[in-house]
């Protein structure tokens, strides 16, 4: 009953060893409208093989719609989407794409009356994965997620975290090259969330391509190579570090022995982005601290100030995200 020629799967395995960056996901000017409402507007981004890309955005920003289009679940209004070298709008290609991707939806969507094993077995067969490898993979992922002992229990008796783990195992059971995860750690306890994050990091090491929708900024910062901030349109795409430079969130904090108006005036005279004081501490916001900090220190010393210490605080991803989304 299992397909004799799982072409997309073979393609995945052969291509996984490539070292030069290979585009796995190419999205160009993707737009999706529902009547007059535009859910996703002119979205453009690419993912290389092995990259983990986080899509951040408020509710209703179009994250789930984007994932559904990329998974060939719904059509696009305009633009182009390619997964591997396949076009999502081509019917035959869409079938091959579905075979090479795994989806962790925002709702786990498991069959509660069936056991964890039966759920995974069913999906593995629907993905036309070879039977022998399917059994090996079910065992591998259930063990990896600490669920092997409970494999025969109905999923309906599982906790939320356990169900989410089964959902993750379901997305992995056919060994997909590309993974789409829609808020995989939402509402989980810290331990379950950590297990899932660890698995994602393992997958990253295995060179799998992952698109991760998340609200968890700390998680995105820890897991993702690059982050895209989405609010119907893609507001920004970059590494977490480079995103920090996009906003005026970096500050140099200088601790003085004594603060006075003369020192403050000297610092303000250099026209930094912002100046805040707190006792003997002065925090100076600047566009390029590497270049501007020496001039600030010189001004303070020239004004008779004595510097105890100098440190730098970067903007958190939360600061960056909030600023970008509000803008």
């Amino acid at each position: 009953m299992i397909a004799q020629e799982p072409k997309a799967w073979i393609y995945d395995r052969q291509s996984r060893t490539g070292e030069t960056p290979v585009k796995m996901i190419e999205v160009a000017n993707l737009t999706r409208k529902f009547g007059d409402f535009t859910a996703v507007d002119s979205l453009t981004f690419n993912l290389d093989r092995g990259e983990v890309f986080g899509l951040l955005g408020p509710n209703g920003a179009g994250k789930t719609t984007t994932v559904r289009i990329l998974c060939c679940l719904i059509s696009k209004t305009s633009g182009s989407v390619r997964i591997g070298d396949l076009d999502t709008s081509d019917r035959d290609d869409a079938m091959k794409i579905r075979k090479m991707i795994g989806l962790v939806p925002d709702n786990v969507g498991l069959y509660d009356t069936l056991s964890a094993y039966a759920n995974l077995e069913f999906y593995g067969r629907m993905y036309e994965f070879p039977e022998k490898q399917l059994k090996e993979n079910i065992e591998k992922y259930l063990k990896m997620l600490d669920l092997w002992d409970k494999k025969d229990l109905p999923v309906g008796s599982f906790s939320k975290g356990m169900r989410q783990k089964v959902s993750l195992a379901r997305a992995l059971v056919h060994d997909p090259e590309v993974l789409f995860m829609d808020e995989p750690t939402a509402n989980l306890d810290p331990e379950a969330a950590k297990t899932i994050r660890d698995v994602i990091l393992d997958l990253r090491r295995e060179n799998r391509t992952i698109l991760l929708n998340t609200h968890n900024l700390d998680e995105a910062q820890r897991i993702c190579n690059r982050i895209g901030v989405l609010k119907t349109r893609l507001i920004a795409v970059d590494t977490p570090e480079n995103l920090a430079k996009l906003v005026s969130g970096r500050k140099t904090v200088i601790l003085l022995e004594e603060m006075n108006d003369r020192i403050l005036g000297a610092v303000r005279g250099l026209n930094p982005r912002s100046v805040e004081t707190d006792g003997n501490k002065i925090a100076v916001g600047m566009a390029d601290p590497d270049r501007e900090t020496p001039a600030i220190i010189t001004a303070i010393v020239s004004s008779g100030g004595k510097v105890r210490s100098v440190s730098e605080t970067g903007a958190s991803l939360e600061d960056i995200y909030l600023q970008l989304v509000r803008e």
């Binding site: 679940l73 059509s75 079938m95 939806p105 709702n107 969507g109």
Partner: protein, 245 residues
Amino acid sequence: MRLWKSWILAKKDLAIMRKRRSLATAILAFPLGLGIALPLLIEYIIVRKSATVTIVSSLLGAFPFFFIILSALLPLYISSYGIVGEKTEKSLEPLLATPTSDGEILMGKYIGSFLPVLVSIYLGLTIFMFLTDLLTVSKIGHFYYPNLGMAIVYLLGAPFACIYGVSTGLFVSSKVNNIQGAYQIGAFSLIPLYALYILGEIGIVSLSSNTNLLIISAGLLVAVILMYMLSRATFNRESILTKWK
């Protein structure tokens, strides 16, 4: 269309059905109950009411029609569950994300609902025939069943009614969010069958006539084709994920 893919889905639905006792009980209890109750009713009429051979024969001719109605009613419940159940468990999205065509998924739902009901209906009909023959042979003087009318019900009426119920259930369940609602709305689609039964009772239509049974079966076949086309048009992943309630 790859039928083996539909079969995987149907097997999953059958496994869930086995685990849900109320569902499995409903599928078995009604046909088996009818298969036992109707012969006992006939026996009561013969013994207590001293019915004539003509009256008994007329009743025996009309009773199989109950099984046609039941063949349409039961799958309505199961197929409503098949889709609404997937919706309430939020399992439609991961299912639709698998490399399976809409037609294969729809066919899987058809098979998963059709098979258990038809098997159960055939069991009920067999018990009905056996018990009826046992209880009426002394009055009629010969075994009344099997006969041509029952063959039409077995081979045409019951299967077509069953597929009609499945199609209706699948179509209706795309419009509602709960199983009860789907079942109740779907039950309206059986009004023509109830009307036929009433017409039979008041003597306008003979439900024991083989010709009429053939015409009813043909009508059901046409309804099946129309409902399948409607289900097929409704069941595509785009509208399931963006328009279904």
